[in-house]
C-alpha cells in the first residue's frame, strides 16, 4: 500500500547537465518537504536533488556581511542594499544564469539594461568559442532523438560523457536502441578523439590519441585527406597517417554520422578556430554521407541562457549595455577578460560559482569590489560575498523552461517547496529590477 506521507513525482527533468534527462522519479516526504528517493538519475543528478534538502550547506534566509560576519536580514533590506550597490556601480557585471530557468534569465537582461552593465553567462568560459564559430560558418545540427534513431557512427571529440554527461551514452548516443539502430551499441561505431584514454575512449571502437592543443591540425588533415590530398608526412598531432586514413574511411562509409564536441576543442589553443574546422569538416562530410554535429553543453540551461539573451538583445553572451544599447564583443566584454583588466566595480552572480571556475587572477580582481550572489548553497563565491540572496532551486523547487544541448525547450517541474524564506531566481531578479527602477527615479 502506498505511503500517504510520500508523494512520487514522475517524468521529472533533471536540472544538472545539458542532456536534460526527462524520466526521473522523485519521492518526496510531504510533511518535511524533503527528497527521500531519486530513481533513474545519474550519480550527479541524484546528488543535486538530495542537495536541495535543508542542510548546513544550504542558505534559507538573506544574509548581509556586517563587520566580517553574516547577519540575517529581511528580503526588503537585502534587495534595497543590493540595488544600492548595483545603482552606485559604474560598470556592474551580471554573470552566471546557466543553472536557472529562462524566465529568470529574461529578468536579468532587463536588469542589465537598466543598470547599463555587462551581462554574461557561463558559455563565456565553456562553449563561447562554439557560438563564435557557429556565427561565422553556421552549423549542420539536429536533435538528440534523430541521433538516437539514425546515427551509426558517433564521434566524441574532446568530450568525456561518461564523466560529464553520464546518461548521454545510454539515452542518445551509444547503448540505446533506435528506430534504425535496433541493436543499439552493436549497430554503432564509436570514435573518441582525446589526449587521454578516457573512460569514454575505453568504451569506443576507435580511440585517436591526439597531442594536447593540436586538434586544429588534425581536423584540417582529415579535411585534406577527404579532398584526396596525399599527406607528405607520417604523423600529424601525434596520430600516424595510416590511423588518420582509417578514420577518414570510417567517417565516409557510415550512413549517418555525428560529432559531439566538448571543452577539449573550446578550451585549448585555437579555441573557436577548432570549432570552425570541425563544422567545415562536418559540412564537407555531407558530400559523402549524412553528417551533423552538436556541442556537449555542460550546465543544464546554458543553451537557454544563449537563447534568451539572443532573442532579447541579439547576442548570446558577453553583452555590454553601457551605451544604452546592447554591444557584443567577446574578449572585451566577456567576464574573465573584464575581470583580468579590472574593468568592473561590482558583481551580481546568479546560479554560478566563478570563484571556483575562473582563473585565479580574475578571481582576485572580482574580490576587490562589492559582490552579490543569488545562490542556494555555500560555495567559494557565496562565502566571500557581501550579500547572499537564497533562491529556490529551479527545476526542483520551482518550474521554468530549460533548453537541452540540442536547443529543444523542456518544461522543468517543481517537486517540493523551497526551505525557509527562499524566493525563486525570477522573483529575486524582478524585485531587484523594481528597486533599481525606483532608485533611478524611473
Amino acid at each position: 500500500m502506498a505511503d500517504k506521507n510520500i508523494r512520487t513525482v514522475t517524468d521529472v527533468i533533471c536540472p544538472f547537465c545539458g542532456t536534460l534527462c526527462d524520466d526521473l522519479e522523485i519521492d518526496i516526504d510531504i510533511k518535511e518537504q524533503k527528497v527521500i528517493e531519486v530513481r533513474n538519475g545519474c550519480q550527479i543528478g541524484t546528488r543535486k536533488f538530495f542537495s536541495s534538502n535543508p542542510s548546513e550547506h544550504r542558505y534559507n534566509k538573506p544574509l548581509i556581511k556586517d563587520n566580517g560576519a553574516y547577519k540575517e536580514v529581511s528580503w526588503d533590506e537585502a534587495i534595497d542594499k543590493s540595488a544600492d550597490i548595483l545603482v552606485k556601480a559604474k560598470r556592474p557585471l551580471l554573470y552566471g544564469f546557466s543553472s536557472t530557468e529562462c524566465e529568470a534569465q529574461g529578468q536579468a537582461v532587463e536588469l542589465a539594461e537598466l543598470l547599463g552593465g555587462v551581462l554574461d553567462n557561463t558559455a563565456s568560459v565553456c562553449h563561447g568559442p562554439s557560438l563564435l564559430a557557429i556565427q561565422d560558418v553556421g552549423a549542420p545540427t539536429s536533435t538528440l532523438g534523430e541521433y538516437k534513431n539514425r546515427a551509426d557512427l558517433v564521434v566524441f571529440w574532446g568530450s568525456n560523457p561518461v564523466h560529464a554527461h553520464p546518461r548521454h551514452l545510454g539515452r542518445y548516443s551509444d547503448f540505446i536502441r533506435g528506430y534504425f539502430r535496433k541493436d543499439g551499441t552493436n549497430d554503432r561505431f564509436i570514435v573518441v578523439v582525446d589526449p587521454r584514454n578516457t573512460n569514454t575512449a575505453q568504451l569506443a571502437d576507435m580511440h585517436i590519441q591526439i597531442n594536447p592543443n593540436e586538434d586544429y591540425e588534425l581536423l584540417n588533415a582529415i579535411r585534406a585527406i577527404l579532398r584526396g590530398v596525399e599527406l607528405d608526412i607520417d604523423e600529424i598531432s601525434g596520430v600516424p597517417k595510416n590511423k588518420i586514413i582509417e578514420l577518414v574511411n570510417a567517417l565516409k562509409s557510415c550512413n549517418f554520422g555525428v560529432i559531439f564536441f566538448g571543452m577539449g576543442l573550446t578550451q585549448t589553443l585555437s579555441h573557436h578556430r577548432n570549432i570552425d574546422a570541425a563544422i567545415c569538416l562536418t559540412r564537407e562530410l555531407n558530400d559523402h554521407t549524412k553528417f551533423l554535429l552538436t556541442p556537449m553543453r555542460g550546465h543544464y540551461n546554458v543553451a537557454g541562457a544563449n537563447q534568451v539573451f539572443t532573442w532579447q538583445t541579439g547576442y548570446s553572451y558577453s553583452i555590454d549595455f553601457s551605451k544604452g544599447y546592447p554591444r557584443y564583443n567577446p574578449g572585451e566584454f566577456s567576464s574573465v577578460d573584464l575581470l583580468m583588466k579590472d574593468e568592473m566595480d561590482a558583481c551580481l552572480i546568479v546560479a554560478s560559482d566563478p570563484a571556483s571556475n575562473f582563473p585565479a587572477a580574475a578571481v582576485k580582481n572580482m574580490f576587490k569590489h562589492p559582490l552579490i550572489t543569488i545562490e542556494p548553497h555555500h560555495t567559494p563565491t557565496s562565502v566571500n560575498s557581501d550579500i547572499i540572496l537564497p533562491p529556490a532551486i529551479a527545476g526542483i523547487e520551482c518550474e521554468g523552461t530549460a533548453y537541452r544541448m540540442d536547443s529543444v525547450p523542456l518544461r522543468l517541474r517543481k517537486v517540493k517547496e523551497a526551505p525557509g524564506k527562499c524566493l525563486t531566481d525570477k522573483e529575486i531578479l524582478e524585485r531587484l529590477v523594481e528597486a533599481v527602477r525606483s532608485k533611478k527615479g524611473e
Partner: protein, 131 residues
C-alpha cells in the same frame, strides 16, 4: 623529486561533479578535485607514494594537490587536475580575445612535497581575497 616538461589538462570528472552539488566547501570536494592524476610510468619518476602532496607549477601560478595515478591512462607526459578551484590556480587566463581562458594544455612542472598541505576550497580561495 620533480618532473619537468609535462602538459597539464583540466577536465570534468564524475566525482568532481558529485562533490560540487551542494558540497563545494567540503572535504569530499578536496578528494574529488584537489588532486593531480599522473600517467603510471611518469609517476614512478616522482619516487613517492600515491597520495603524497605535489606542487604543480605553471607560468600562471602554483598549487599543492594530492597525487594519484590516472585511471584514464596511459597518457605519458600529461597530468590532469579536475576542473575546480585547485586547477584554476595554474591555468592560463588568456582567452586570445575569444572570452574563454585556455584551461587546457599548459606546460607544467611537478615537485613531490611530502610535507605539503592541500588547502580546502574555501581556504584556497581566501588566499586570493587576501592577496
Amino acid at each position: 623529486m620533480s618532473i619537468n616538461n609535462l602538459i597539464l589538462i583540466t577536465c570534468r570528472t564524475i566525482n568532481q561533479g558529485v562533490a560540487l552539488e551542494g558540497g563545494k566547501n567540503t572535504k569530499e570536494n578536496v578528494r574529488a578535485a584537489g588532486i593531480c592524476a599522473f600517467d603510471k610510468e611518469d609517476f614512478k619518476k616522482l619516487d613517492c607514494l600515491v597520495g603524497t602532496p605535489v606542487k604543480v607549477i605553471t607560468d600562471h601560478g602554483e598549487v599543492v594537490v594530492y597525487s594519484t595515478i590516472s585511471e584514464e591512462g596511459p597518457h605519458p607526459g600529461i597530468i590532469f587536475i579536475p576542473m575546480g578551484p585547485w586547477a584554476n590556480q595554474v591555468v592560463n587566463p588568456d582567452s586570445q580575445a575569444c572570452g574563454t581562458p585556455t584551461y587546457k594544455g599548459m606546460k607544467a612542472r611537478v615537485e613531490a612535497i611530502p610535507s605539503g598541505k592541500v588547502l580546502d576550497a574555501v581556504n584556497l580561495i581566501k588566499l586570493l581575497r587576501e592577496a
